[in-house]
Subunit: 561 residues, 2 copies
């Protein structure tokens, strides 16, 4: 047994409360190395005749990736307290593993056991209920629909008349969304994630000028109210984009510093290294990346913090938005996000907080900061299989198993799955224009654990390279929309609503898969019902035997009927 | 190479900011398995010709325990941002390790590298400067000294006239401390940790009746002021004990619930399962352990929280205390402790927050909750070597290496090292009355990384079994105090003050040790000076060659001179 590969540490995805009563305890071992794992656990204060009392609980394997097996046991400690250790067995040896490491003998000293000291309700990760049943649609407002030409900025081009550039404008706005609500309802989505709507200089609006004002080119506060009401009436949630890492260059507070230098009352709102400010060869102030047009905000400063927290509260309080997506969330301090969570959840308890983080995000997902992150590890894995064809179906299953064992189960259910955004080439372009591949990708995304998001236009097979290419004007002419793709996505969304197992009900298990097997298969089961998803990832037929017995079961083909 | 044993995850002790500029990046590998580790790192936004730019940084081995080697590299990223991965090499192979796992090839995709997104100053772990130079002395107030017989409770026994029991009283008080300040100054300690002083029923005072009042048997607010001023004048910090997990049975709010049941306005201050309250066979309310006399407080309730936070602030504001030791800290919710930190640090920025947690405490030591915990893993390791003789000197060194790699370096420097307390048998009793062993133990504790604490009376070789035995009255008759022990401890404290390397200056490295070698040796070095500590843990002489060359160095015997 390679005990050095065994890993557990209380907290994170390894020991957490999934409800006010139940704990998940997980363990990682080297792949195919350990035959059996038993948890020895008991209440820390349950002693008899001077001996601490514990019981055995079998753990089961929940998945295997390239290098590891993962084990789980669920337990509801009657007094909400637990000390526990693991007994690992293979054919030839057995090891005990606890708070002070590994030993051949099971310790009789409770101090050698791991501890989950007390299940306090307030510390339980708690995302809004509605998120796990939501299908998102991402709108880049300047390019979705022009519903009101009177607010078009100067130089607005006719809709879709040119290729998108970093500078051009086509007049998309809020009225455009309101007027096309039937299209979205018809597609079936139940949440819209809007990239920034606040007044800004660029067409993407990530360079905010005023966080308290809708950009006039998108419309008025009345237009916004009408749009949100229309969405809500149609069962559609609305998520805004909070760009709090940096402001735009034309943010008046930054302009004040540019103008007055050290005399500006806003000089501590940013991270200034030297006065007067310079932008060449590198900015003399911290920025997003190295772009002088996005000065990093000093979110540790009390005034900046209060200003941004009020932004967080204001749009919920006044316009009843349902979620905040946090741009470049990983570069803002954790202390800020803890207070942000407190403030916005106090304003609206079931508000969804989604961080833009592309890498391992555990540090933000412990219940005190975000509800979820944009699940780019999911994206990478999908692209590697279908677009780059750099991994096999088996590797896809292994990598997806890794991704699903990175976080607690409740995080997985609300994590934001996407296969493209305004920051990436469009999925159809990634897949070399293969409609069939993109249909498979949507099938996976819309049957997988998590909350899926469709980037506007992907459902009608729009194409586009890395931005600005991926930000083309939405195509509204029916005959230029790919109806096969639309109907495929529409059907997947409908099925996901009809069959909760296709969304986040039940527990997902990947089916065993061999090296040359192109079939990605998984089940989701809630104990009484099981749904099976099988996807042939190759363009050729393959004989596949379903690896379980369903005689005497009622079987229904959900896809065909 | 057993790559499955390789571990890193950004955060915790593996990637953290140790100053506003510098990061520590650590990695764990299987013991003696990897020959060389190189970190590949760069700014996430530093691209040239479409390629992300990174550089190589060698890592060095900082220690080896029973199963693992630990590697470290320090780096000060110029823009406070870092993406990084590891290149692991042995004789026959090399592996890349990053955010998406292991691969034979170094990825060219930045997404496969780990991320430390931004070094925000406010998130840096930040304990008070003074703690790392402090030598603590723990006082159990009822048993240290009776300085004022007028406040003795009814039935107080003559000092030291009987063995301590859970019920008897000997009259120790605040005046007793003030009057004996010269003794403490002579010993050389620079901080006192007091077990609870607030009004309570028992002699140990962990069953609080009033958190806002000093127990009358200990004296008045004036006595307290005088004592704290006396301590401060003599360079001694004062730490109080906060018992916030539970109140005492006679806490008026709990008495109100006992009396009025569901009609009590305090019914939500506790965790009541059923009304009316019962205590048999088990309490119908949550308690500390299973004792009905310590009802668990509902620290999630806003009124309870505000009450306890005000307790936290009050004693700092009004009496200028320097630290709070938090009893049963692990069973109170994290949300409470985050707010507690904010409030007490706002009242006094350099207040020390010490949690009583016996097990792995990483979840409380991320900078948002505690500064340190009581380092019982240190205690266990010392007892196993000297008292139980269950491990060899080599195993001691390995276990201590584990303990020192559990947390970030800044935590180690302020972690509260102890070898006994009011909750354990006295160290001399644990060591079967061997004065020599206890002298060695103090030598280790007072030369080790961390902030050491001497339990009152251990310095004069008092004995005592598990409580109540370990809570005997302090012996004040000179001829009954072991002066050899006193002078030994006194000398160690003096040396620790004179030689900052003996405290927390410099970096500790254990010397290599073989199976049958009884010499525990370590160096601490600050780059220009190195101090060497050697302890023969056996009662027989042993020939030992110091495993490094000190020719051409100025060498001084700190112990003899």
């Amino acid at each position: 047994m390679i005990i050095e590969a065994v890993y557990h540490r209380p907290g994170d995805q390894y020991a957490y409360a999934c409800t006010d009563e139940m704990l998940h305890i997980r363990l990682r071992t080297k792949k195919n190395d350990v035959d059996e794992v038993v948890m020895l656990a008991g209440d820390p204060y349950h002693w008899e005749d001077g001996n601490w009392q514990n019981q055995e609980f079998s753990m089961w394997k929940t998945g295997t990736d390239t290098f590891y097996d993962y084990w789980l046991v669920t337990i509801s400690p009657p007094y909400r307290r637990l000390r526990y250790g693991f007994l690992l067995k293979d054919e030839s040896e057995s090891w005990f593993y606890g708070d002070k490491g590994f030993s051949k003998e099971v310790s009789t000293d409770i101090g050698y056991f791991f501890c989950f000291p007390f299940l306090n309700g307030i510390d339980v990760f708690n995302a809004p209920e509605w998120v796990k049943d939501t299908v998102w649609y991402q709108i880049f407002p300047e390019r979705f629909a022009n519903g009101d030409t009177s607010n078009d900025p100067e130089g607005t081009l006719p809709w879709g008349s040119e290729e998108p550039t970093p500078e051009n404008f086509f007049g998309g706005d809020l009225k455009g969304v309101t007027k096309n609500i039937d299209y979205l309802v018809d597609l079936g989505i139940s949440g819209i994630y809007f990239t920034p709507l606040f007044k800004a200089f660029s067409n993407h609006k990530y360079d905010t000028i005023d966080y308290m004002e809708i950009d006039p080119q998108f419309g008025t506060n009345e237009d916004l109210k009408e749009m949100i009401e229309t969405c809500h009436k149609n069962g559609i949630k609305v998520m805004f984009d909070a760009v709090f890492n940096h402001s735009g260059y034309f943010f008046p507070q930054f302009q004040d510093v540019l103008e007055k230098g050290e005399a500006s009352i806003y000089k501590d709102w940013f991270h200034i290294k030297e006065f007067p400010l310079t932008t060449e060869p590198l900015p003399s102030y911290d920025t997003f990346a190295f772009t002088p047009f996005m000065p990093k905000l000093n979110t540790e400063h009390p005034d900046v913090k209060e200003y941004l927290l009020e932004v967080g509260r204001y749009w919920i309080r006044e316009f009843d938005i349902d979620g905040w997506r946090l741009d470049v969330a990983n570069e803002v301090d954790h202390a800020f996000w803890r207070d942000f969570r407190k403030e916005v959840k106090a304003t609206k308890p079931d508000l969804y907080i989604l961080g833009e983080i592309w890498h391992d995000s555990m540090s933000w997902l412990r219940g005190d900061q975000f509800d979820a992150v944009m699940n780019y590890p999911f994206t990478t894995n999908v692209l590697n299989l279908f677009a780059k064809e750099s991994i096999s179906a088996k590797e896809f299953v292994e990598n997806m198993t890794s991704v699903m064992h990175m976080y607690p189960e409740m995080v997985n259910a609300v994590n934001f799955n996407l296969v493209g955004s305004h920051d990436t080439p469009r999925i159809l372009t990634e897949c070399n224009d293969s409609i069939e591949k993109v249909k498979q990708i949507f099938t996976i995304m819309l049957t997988m654990v998590g909350t899926p998001c469709i980037y506007y236009g992907d459902e009608i097979a729009m194409t586009g390279e890395q931005d600005p290419g991926c930000r083309k004007c939405m195509v509204w002419e029916k005959d230029k929309q790919n109806q096969e793709m639309f109907q495929h996505v529409q059907k997947l969304i409908r099925l996901r609503k009809e069959e909760p197992l296709l969304a986040n009900d039940g527990v997902l298990s990947f089916l065993p898969i061999e090296d040359d097997n192109p079939i990605v298969g998984f089940t989701k089961s809630n104990g009484t019902e099981t749904i099976l998803v099988l996807i042939n990832t190759k363009d050729e037929s393959y004989d596949y035997s379903i690896p379980f017995n369903w005689s005497n079961k009622v079987v229904k083909d959900v896809w065909k009927h």
